[in-house]
Amino acid sequence: MLAVYIIIGVVVVLLIIFLTIYNGLVRRRNQVKNSWAQIDVQLKRRHDLIPNLMETVKGYMKHERETMESVTKARNLAQQLTSAGAGERAKAEGELSSALSRLLAVVENYPDLKANQNFLALQEELASTENKISFSRQYYNDSVLRYNNQTQMFPSNIVASMTGFKASEFFEVTVAAEREAPKVSFTQ
């Protein structure tokens, strides 16, 4: 009789441990999903801001057709790839980042544009969106790291492999593109 009780007790304890770990994994996976959605929101925001920027800049920049076209092209390409894989997408977005920073670098030659209130507001929005993209990516990678650790470390890896939790992919391909981009400074 005692042996039966002991077995029941052990099974109950194991079950509780299993459920706790399972719930933890679900929570972490949802966090990864949510933070991915956050990156999406910010990337989309940047795509939406660019036509406005082009409209404002157009009247002032007479000699920068090439730079402006590269931004528009990069933006259209990035927008087409919104449903593509993380790697391909990160590359397109990285290209858009560097095209944008090239455009913002030549603003220095147009004092009228620099005084335009509309442009200044847009520039703040763009700079902030750029920050938000990198912060959401940073948070996404942190979440992926925590989630992957949990799927790979003992004992939660047993639960993870039993219930089909797979490790997630990091989002960091753009780093190389960012390194090449020139540093922008507008302060005298």
Binding site: Q31, S35, Q38, Q42, S97, S101, L104, V107, K114, L120, A121, Q123, E124, E125, L126, A127, S128, E130, N131, K132, F135, S136, Q138, Y139, D142, S143, E178, R179, A181, K183, V184, S185, F186, T187
Partner: protein
């Protein structure tokens, strides 16, 4: 925990002395504490913001501030955007409030808003968001309520013990207990005097520890410790006192709001660690992770225990962001920031701003009823 024990001990001695039963005293202490906690829990944030005469702003009122808060909300993984308030005060300070991360607020003085550039503002906001994320607001509110209760009870208790006549009833009731009575009286008296001081010290120690932790989190979120360090430098150099601060709310500010005239904030260490030390730690960081902060802390503080909970220390280090593509792009300088901030403050007080062709700005008060207004500078008339 330490302060809770102190409160219970005070209740115990008070009860023992006045009601012949320690339980009664404990019950009183508990009731007082529960009432104060409930008031603090449900009204703390609105009370604090009303006391500071803070004004709530939206995205359009001050896009840069709103964006920086949103950036830090994303970096910290906070689920809900905190409310943002500006306090119209030339003193330099900022604080966070709200009982849980879903109904939190950050407030910043107009003085600080115009003093800091974007990176520094980001550091300060990251520090405040860390207070929200680490639930320091709730912790410090509970601690300060506990402290307040201890001080309150000890104050009344010591008055009664010294001047009250209740003691004579006790001593005549039992002849043999006189000696023990006296011992209890003396112990209680000593305790009444010591308890508030001890409670205060514990409170300050907790507060300082949470400040270090918030600094470490701010460095981690921004990946840029220099932003906060340079903001703290500006904060430390100022001597202005915040008019609306009070003792209970002091730990929520980024630097101690109580510093005497002519005394620099960096000299004072009570609820906050010395500013100079916080700057030294931030600048000694090799990376941006908690581990790097811990190492920098030990470098500045030889010996002693660390300030970061051991569970949060991970092996890997996080690199500091050195490439700031957008940091300085088109950023307003201090004069432009001052104009921008004062514009916001006028607008929030319902003043109507008309810009005249001559460049002068007319601030039309909300009570102004005339249909047209004349520019005092050039004489042009404007529709209101």
């Amino acid at each position: 925990m330490g302060m809770g024990a102190l409160l219970i001990l005070i209740g115990y001695f008070l009860g023992l002395y006045f009601f012949d039963s320690a339980i009664a005293g404990l019950v009183i202490a508990l009731i007082v504490w529960v009432i104060l906690s409930l008031v603090g829990y449900f009204q703390g944030d609105s009370l604090l913001l009303t006391m500071s005469r803070a004004k709530k702003i939206g995205r359009d009122d001050h896009p840069r501030l709103y964006n920086v808060v949103e950036e830090m909300k994303i970096a910290s993984g906070l689920e809900k955007m905190p409310n943002i308030y500006i306090i119209d005060d030339p003193a330099l300070n900022a604080f966070a409030t709200g009982r849980d991360p879903n109904r939190a607020s950050v407030a910043i003085t107009s003085g600080l808003l115009q003093k800091l550039n974007r990176d520094e503002l980001q550091g300060v906001i990251a520090h405040e968001i860390s207070h929200i994320k680490n639930r320091d607001v709730l912790l410090m509110a509970m601690c300060s309520i506990l402290l307040g209760t201890i001080v309150l009870l000890a104050w009344y208790g010591s008055r009664f013990l010294i001047f009250g006549g209740t003691g004579s009833r006790r001593s005549s009731s039992s002849g043999g207990g006189g000696g023990a009575q006296l011992i209890i009286l003396v112990v209680a008296l000593v305790f009444m005097i010591l308890a508030p001081i001890m409670a205060q010290l514990i409170y300050f120690a907790i507060s300082r520890k949470r400040e270090y932790l918030a600094d470490a989190s701010a460095a981690l979120y921004t990946r840029y410790p220099e932003g906060l360090a340079s903001a703290l430098e500006k904060l430390g150099a100022s001597t202005g006192q915040l008019k609306s601060a009070n003792k209970a709310t002091a730990p929520m500010y980024i630097v101690n709001p109580f510093r005497k005239k002519g005394m620099k904030a960096s000299d004072l260490s009570s609820t906050h660690p010395p500013i100079s030390e916080r700057i030294r730690i931030l600048r000694a960081m090799a990376g941006a992770s908690f581990t790097d902060y811990d190492q920098a802390y030990h470098q500045v503080h030889l010996g002693g225990t660390g300030v970061i909970p051991a569970a949060s220390l991970a092996a890997e280090t996080v690199p500091i962001a050195t490439i700031k593509l957008e940091g300085e792009a088109g950023e307003p300088n201090e004069i432009q920031r001052a104009r921008e901030t004062s514009d916001v403050m006028w607008r929030l007080s319902n003043y109507n701003t008309i810009t005249c062709e001559c460049g002068a700005k007319l601030r039309v008060p909300p009570k102004f009823k005339e249909p047209i207004i004349k520019c005092p500078h050039c004489g042009r008339t404007h529709q209101v």
